[in-house]
Structure formats: structure tokens, C-alpha cells
């Protein structure tokens, strides 16, 4: 029987599922244990798995990420929480230079099965340093897998896949989605990395979206449908590995492509996806590929300003409509 749970609850369920299954799975981070996480994504785990496996850390992001790297080298499958994705910058050397490159530099001697989970994205009026969408930072670094689910079901399925993956995964949980609800089936749920999901089908245009942009793209597609435009919406779910097959076949079917990206424009994930489409499906395209992104600016804190900055349903609808005119 399917259950209706929140995205936030799904995080704890996913971690519990994996920690139950495999006693080498550990969770560390700031306030993850006694407090159950500042976003309440890890409540109950301390009580269930004990203080050795669920552990609070000092405010030492380099030590946190370094610790999971070292532990992954020596037999654990650790999960670290970095409270806000913005703080990935404080331990970026450990992530981008050490974790991402170690397997390659050692020619496979050292495996790093670890997950770094982090609260990503805007819409909650936290301002420029606590609201960034940084999936593209991780995507740009060879050696990192990059996951960003949009539904509670995918949170569980992809977290399970990430924890079981033999490579390092950066797992982006979207702050704006924590309260959203969705169905999850009973029993163990394990997904696969690198599979996009076609969440809506239409023949006029393809909208590629990620994380919190997926529900917006879906809503936009409904409004477009009312205007007679039928759009396919693809939830990428994973940026590395990237499901180029699904992307390219959607492009082939519609000939018109839009990305909806929460990141600021320059070098966002959509830039990469567009460059792939243009290189490999150029002759399938009927019109310019259009990227709908946050402007290339830091995010303002004020609600009015923030809402007008991140791509909105209206902006998606208007952009698609205008382009198809």
C-alpha cells in the first residue's frame, strides 16, 4: 500500500532503510543526531541506530568531508551532511580535488563509496549565501556523481542507489521541496542513478528540469496545454551519470527544447545539456534551444525579489509560448 509522505520524511526513511541493511553505513554532520537535523531530515536516526552511527560534528566542514573520505577508504560507507549546499564551498578542496580525483590518481587502488547530502536551492528567503542551486559545481568536476531528486519517492530510491554506489555521490536535497508530499510504495525502494524520468508527454516541446523546477515545469505544461501546447517534461534526476538517451529521444520527438534551471545562467547544467543536444541532435531541432534560468546574479533575500528571480511558472509558460509563436 502506498503511503503519502513528505520529501523531508523521505530523507530519514531512505537513510534508515540503508542503515538497517548495511551496518557500515554511518551518518555524520552538524546537528544531525540529537537535533534530527536543522531541516528535520534525520529525526529518529540517532535513537534507532545509536550515537556511534549517527554523530554530531563540530562546525568543521573540511573535517566532516575529510572524515568520510578517510572512512570510505577504510571500509565504511559513510554519509555526510553539509547543512546548506552553499557550504560545499568551505570544503570544496576536499570534494573537488581529493574525493573526486583519488580513484583516478591511484589507478583504482582507492575506492570511495560515500555520499555527501546537502540542502540546496532557494525560495525560502535565506538570501544569497543560503539559497544557491549548485548542482553545476559538482557536475563540472570529473569523478563526482550528482543526484537531485524532485519527489519523496525519488529521494528514497536515489538515496538508496547513492549509498550503494561504489563511487562518491553529491546528493542535493531541495529546501523548497522539503514540505512537499508524494506517494511511496511499501517495502524497500532502490532506484538507479542515471535514469531521467519522463513525467509528462507532449509532442510540441520538451522541457528539461531538475529538482524544484520539475513541479514548476509540470504546472507550466498544464497551463501550456490549456493554450494548446503539449509539452514533454523530463525530470533529469541525475546529472552524472546523465541520461542523454532519454534527453535526445525527447528532443527527436518534439524538435523544440527548453531547460528550466534554478542556477544562475553561466555554466549551468542546462548549458552542458544544450551543448550535447546541439552536437548530437542538431538536425532534430526545429528552433533555438532556450534556457530559462535564474539571471546571472546572486539571489536577493526579499521574497518579492527572490520570487521574481528564480524561474517561475509564468516565465516558463511565457517563454515557451513566445518561442513557439
Amino acid at each position: 500500500m502506498a503511503e503519502l509522505i513528505t520529501y523531508r520524511e523521505a530523507v530519514a526513511m531512505a537513510l534508515a532503510q540503508e542503515m538497517e541493511r548495511d551496518d557500515t553505513v554511518y551518518l555524520i554532520g552538524e546537528d544531525v543526531a540529537a537535533a534530527g537535523g536543522v531541516f528535520k531530515t534525520t529525526p529518529g536516526l540517532l535513537e534507532r541506530f545509536g550515537e556511534r552511527r549517527v554523530r554530531d560534528t563540530p562546525i568543521s566542514e573540511e573535517a566532516i568531508v575529510g572524515a568520510v573520505m578517510g572512512a570510505a577508504m577504510n571500509g565504511l560507507r559513510p554519509v555526510a551532511e553539509i547543512m546548506f549546499s552553499d557550504f560545499l564551498a568551505t570544503c570544496w578542496d576536499l570534494i573537488a580535488n581529493q574525493i573526486a580525483k583519488t580513484r583516478y590518481m591511484t589507478d583504482g587502488q582507492v575506492a570511495l563509496p560515500l555520499v555527501i547530502r546537502t540542502a540546496n536551492g532557494g525560495g525560502v528567503r535565506f538570501g544569497a549565501q543560503h539559497s544557491q542551486s549548485l548542482e553545476n559545481w559538482a557536475m563540472s568536476v570529473p569523478g563526482l556523481k550528482v543526484v537531485a531528486p524532485s519527489t519523496p519517492r525519488d529521494v528514497i530510491a536515489l538515496m538508496a542507489a547513492s549509498v550503494r554506489d561504489p563511487d562518491p555521490v553529491i546528493f542535493f536535497e531541495h529546501k523548497g521541496l522539503f514540505a512537499s508530499r508524494g506517494e511511496v510504495p511499501d517495502g524497500e525502494l532502490v532506484g538507479r542513478l542515471g535514469e531521467a524520468s519522463v513525467v509528462r508527454s507532449g509532442s510540441d516541446a520538451t522541457i528539461l528540469a531538475l529538482a524544484a523546477m520539475v513541479p514548476k515545469a509540470l504546472q507550466a505544461a498544464d497551463e501550456l496545454s490549456a493554450r494548446g501546447i503539449e509539452a514533454t517534461v523530463v525530470d533529469l534526476r541525475c546529472l552524472v551519470p546523465l541520461d542523454t538517451r532519454t534527453i535526445l529521444s525527447a528532443v527527436a520527438e518534439t524538435g523544440r527544447v527548453f531547460t528550466v534551471e534554478e542556477n544562475p545562467r553561466l555554466c549551468g547544467w542546462g548549458a552542458e545539456v544544450v551543448s550535447i543536444i546541439v552536437e548530437e541532435a542538431f538536425y532534430d531541432l526545429d528552433s533555438p534551444v532556450v534556457r530559462i534560468t535564474t539571471d546571472h546574479i546572486p539571489l536577493p533575500a526579499s521574497d518579492i525579489l527572490e520570487d521574481a528571480t528564480i524561474p517561475s511558472v509564468t516565465r516558463i509558460v511565457d517563454t515557451v509560448t513566445r518561442s513557439l509563436d
Binding site: D31, A34, A35, P58, I59, G127, A301, S302, I304
Partner: protein, 333 residues
């Protein structure tokens, strides 16, 4: 603690400090109310209970000195001279806000009077404060930079790098750890290798470990005056650990229930504002003087709140301004 009891400054200064603490307290109480009314969005981190640190320091600083603080920095920014109505407007995300609504509660800045920013990523502002002090030396301005941070910040790398550089370069910067015993929900003692997260580490930078009562405004004023004078005279940086307590939770989302009742009770009994009022009354301040300040602060805060509530929402055009010094945000020609 190193400074047990001090004479304190003259009565005028003490009355000024009393007023400052009261302003900070009312400002934060009202901002919390406005939060509950749905006018302040996002998050807020209140310094209620910690006002003695901010007031003692602000009173001891020179007008052109520079303050660097954290997201828990309404009090510092206000007391270093940010206009209260515009500060409150920023919390409400209005166009008149000190940062035009772009900064928000965690990023209050009022550069005209030296409130050089509230920093929301733990530890980052310690090297920045050191850098501003370096410029002060090179330009011969005589400014001192004062950098406030929490106990939790003592475990992050930037703390270590900033302290070392400041000492090696002999910079006029005062580092002030407001040790309120907790990070967000986790007690600092449970994740720190030493008992006094700042004071016990001063020696690692060749500094004296200064541990002071952060709830005593006179102690804070004297401590601040000494450290600032030392820095101004070329004596280099100080590291001060002020023990204090926030009355509420970490942020608006936190009821603070992880703290033992008895601990909270004891600290509420050490609320710096009534304590100081009693002390000042004993030291010759008249009920009229004290009551006058209190009434005046009530009027002051009402005016600030009214100003903020009346302030217009920011124009959407402002989104694309001030990324660059040309005023705009164009990244292409």
C-alpha cells in the same frame, strides 16, 4: 575569568550603554513579533541576552572603527550606527532596507558607520576583518577592526588562519568570541577539544587567553577599551572569549528545548539589562534618568517599526542592480 570586577566607565557612558542594550533588546523583540506577524520572512537569529557584548564594544569604539559580525548581528549593526528604521526595513525586505532588501536578516550591513557586514557562513569574516585591519595599517588610518563570532566558529579552519595571520602581521583587529554555550542545537563542549573554545587556544597564536563575563556591560566596555587601545597603539590583535547566553533558540525555527531548564533559568536571572539597571541605580542613576531612557527607547522603536512598515516593497528593477560597480548586472557586451 580574567577580568573579575571592574570600576566601569563614567555614569554618562554607562547610561549610554544601558540605552544601547535596551535599543538592541527592543529592536530584536519587535523584529520577532514582526516575524510572527509574517512581515519578516526567511529566518532571524536573535541576540537577546547577549546585548552587553555589543553595547560594551560599540560604546568603546571610535566612529571610524570597523565591525564585522555574524547573522546574529542585528545588535552589532544597530549599535554601530545603522539607522533603525532602515535596518528594520531590511528585515521586512523593503526597498528602504539598508541593503535594499537584497541582504535580509543574515546580511545586515551599514558601511557608512563602519558596520561592515553580518556574515552568514561561519568563520569567513575572521580573515576579512584581519584584511580590513591590514588596510588600516597600510593607509595609516588608525582604525581598529572588531570581529564578533560564535563559539562554534572556533572549530572552523578560517578561525585558525585568521588568528595566525593577524598575529604575524601584527594587525589592529580584536577577535571576540561570543560563547553562548551552543552552536545551533549542539553544545559547544561536546565537539571541542578544549574547555574554553577561544581562550584555551589563544596561546596557539602567541596571545593571552582572555575570558570575560559577557553579560557584564562594564566588563565588556573595559575589555573592549583595553583591546582596542592596544590594537590602535600597534600592539596587535587580541582574542577575547565572552561568556554569554541567548535567551531564545538559535533561530526563529528553534524553541531551544535542548537546553536544561535550570540552565535557562539561571541565565535569565543574569539578564544583562535588569542587572545593569540595578547596578546603575546603585551607582547614582536616578529613576528619572533610567525611566527616561526606557520611555525614549519605546518611542524610538515604535518609530522604527512604523517607518519599516510604511516602507515600499522593492521594485523588481532593483533585482538586476549592483552586481557590478557600474550599477548593473550585465555579464556580456
Amino acid at each position: 575569568m580574567n577580568v573579575a570586577a571592574v570600576a566601569g566607565p563614567d555614569l554618562d557612558t554607562r547610561l549610554r550603554i544601558y540605552r544601547m542594550m535596551l535599543e538592541a533588546r527592543r529592536f530584536e523583540e519587535r523584529s520577532y513579533q514582526l516575524f510572527l506577524e509574517g512581515l519578516v520572512k526567511g529566518t532571524t537569529h536573535l541576540g537577546i541576552g547577549q546585548e552587553a557584548v555589543a553595547a560594551g564594544f560599540s560604546a568603546a569604539m571610535r566612529a571610524d572603527d570597523l565591525t564585522f559580525c555574524t547573522y546574529r548581528g542585528h545588535n552589532h549593526t544597530l549599535l554601530r550606527g545603522a539607522p533603525p528604521g532602515r535596518l528594520m526595513s531590511e528585515l521586512l525586505g523593503r526597498s528602504e532596507g539598508v541593503c535594499g532588501g537584497k541582504g535580509g536578516s543574515m546580511h545586515l550591513t551599514w558601511a557608512p558607520t563602519g558596520a561592515m557586514g553580518s556574515y552568514a557562513i561561519v568563520g569567513a569574516h575572521l580573515p576579512i576583518a584581519a584584511g580590513s585591519a591590514w588596510a588600516a595599517v597600510e593607509r595609516g588610518t588608525g582604525q581598529v577592526a572588531v570581529c564578533f563570532f560564535g563559539d562554534g566558529a572556533t572549530n572552523i579552519g578560517a578561525f585558525h588562519e585568521a588568528l595566525n595571520l593577524a598575529v604575524v602581521w601584527d594587525l589592529p583587529v580584536v577577535f571576540v568570541c561570543e560563547n553562548n554555550l551552543y552552536m545551533e542545537y549542539t553544545p559547544i563542549g561536546s565537539v571541542t577539544a578544549v574547555e574554553r573554545p577561544a581562550a584555551d587556544r589563544a596561546a596557539a597564536y602567541g596571545l593571552e587567553g582572555l575570558l570575560v563575563d559577557g553579560n557584564d556591560p562594564d566588563v565588556m566596555y573595559e575589555t573592549a577599551s583595553d583591546a582596542i587601545a592596544l590594537a590602535r597603539e600597534g600592539g596587535g590583535p587580541s582574542l577575547i572569549e565572552a561568556i554569554t547566553y541567548r535567551h531564545g533558540g538559535h533561530s526563529r525555527a528553534d524553541p531551544g528545548t535542548y537546553r536544561p531548564d535550570e540552565e535557562v533559568r539561571q541565565w535569565l536571572a543574569r539578564d544583562p539589562i535588569p542587572m545593569y539597571r540595578t547596578r546603575l541605580a546603585g551607582a547614582g542613576a536616578s529613576e528619572e534618568q533610567l525611566g527616561g531612557i526606557e520611555q525614549s527607547v519605546e518611542a524610538w522603536i515604535e518609530a522604527a517599526v512604523e517607518e519599516a512598515k510604511a516602507a515600499p516593497e522593492p521594485s523588481l528593477d532593483s533585482i538586476a542592480t549592483e552586481v557590478w560597480a557600474d550599477g548593473g548586472s550585465r555579464w556580456r557586451n
